[in-house]
Symmetry: C2
Subunit: 141 residues, 2 copies
Amino acid sequence: MATRTKYRTKQKEMVLEYLMAVEGRHVTAAEVCEYFTGSGISIGQATVYRQLDNLVKEGLINKYIIDGNSPACFEYVGREEHCHHDVCFHCKCEKCGKLIHLHCEDLKGLGEHLYSHHQFTLDTSRTVFYGICEDCAQIGE
Amino acid sequence: MATRTKYRTKQKEMVLEYLMAVEGRHVTAAEVCEYFTGSGISIGQATVYRQLDNLVKEGLINKYIIDGNSPACFEYVGREEHCHHDVCFHCKCEKCGKLIHLHCEDLKGLGEHLYSHHQFTLDTSRTVFYGICEDCAQIGE
DNA sequence: TTGCGTGCAAAGGTTTTGCATGGCA
DNA sequence: TGCCATGCAAAACCTTTGCACGCAA
C-alpha cells in the first residue's frame, strides 16, 4: 500500500503518466515499452516491469491476468480515495477484454462474508471478477 | 464441451485417472509428469499438456490461473452435473501466497447477483479473491 | 557520498510446436 | 490402412535476475 520506491525517478513518472494517459484501457508491458521506443524515449524493459510492479504494489494501477500464456494487462485505477465511500469492484470480460467498474452496495457483503466465515480479508482493489459480459453473452453461446 | 479427442488412448485415461485420484487437490502439469515418472510410467510432458487441455475443453477438469508466472493448476471437477452443486472459489493471500480453496454455498449468491443485477456471467474458475489470510492477518499488519 | 534505480543481456520457467514414429479404429 | 496421438527436443513466450554504471537525495 505504502510507497515502496525510495527515489523518484524519471522512468517511474513516465510509466505512470503513460498509464494515466490511457486510463480506461488495459495495456501490456510490451505495449508500454513499444510506446516509449516509438516515441524515441529509451527505457529498459526490465525497468518497465519493475515500475509496473511497484505501481501495482502502491495501488495506483491494477494488474490483470486473463490467461496464463498471454501477457498480463495493466490499468491505471487511481488512488483508493476515489472508491472510499463505496467499494469498487472490477469485472473483466474474458471474451472482449472489457473492464467493468462496479459500485454496488450489495457486493460489500462479499467482503464481510469472507471475513466472518472464512477469516479472509478481501482486497477489493486487487480482486477482479472474470467472466462474460452482457454483450458477449448475447453474441456468442 | 463435447469430446474433442477421436481416439481413446492409454495416456489420456491415465491423466484423467490421476486427476480423479487426487480429487479436491490442485495439481500442476509438472506434478502430473512427476507422478508418472515417479511411478515408472513414461508419458511425454507435451502429451500431458495436450491431454490436460483436452480434459479442460471436455469439462472434466478445471484450470486455475492464480498468477501469471506460477504454473497453472488443474483439478478434477467431474461431469457438469457436479458443478451445479459444488462451486469452487479461490482465495490468494497477498502476503504468504497461500491458495485457499473454498467450497461455500453462500458464495453461490455472488454469481447469481452479478448475473441478475449486472448481467455478468461469473467464471468462478478464473476468478481469484486476493486478500490477507487468517495466519498473515494475525502475524503481520 | 550512499545506495537505490537503471539498462543490458542472459537466465528462468512454463507451455507450445515440428516432425518422425507409434497406435487406435 | 488412414489418421490421430505420442514423444522428444527445441522453440516460443513472458518475466525475472545479475551486475556494472548512473543518478536521486
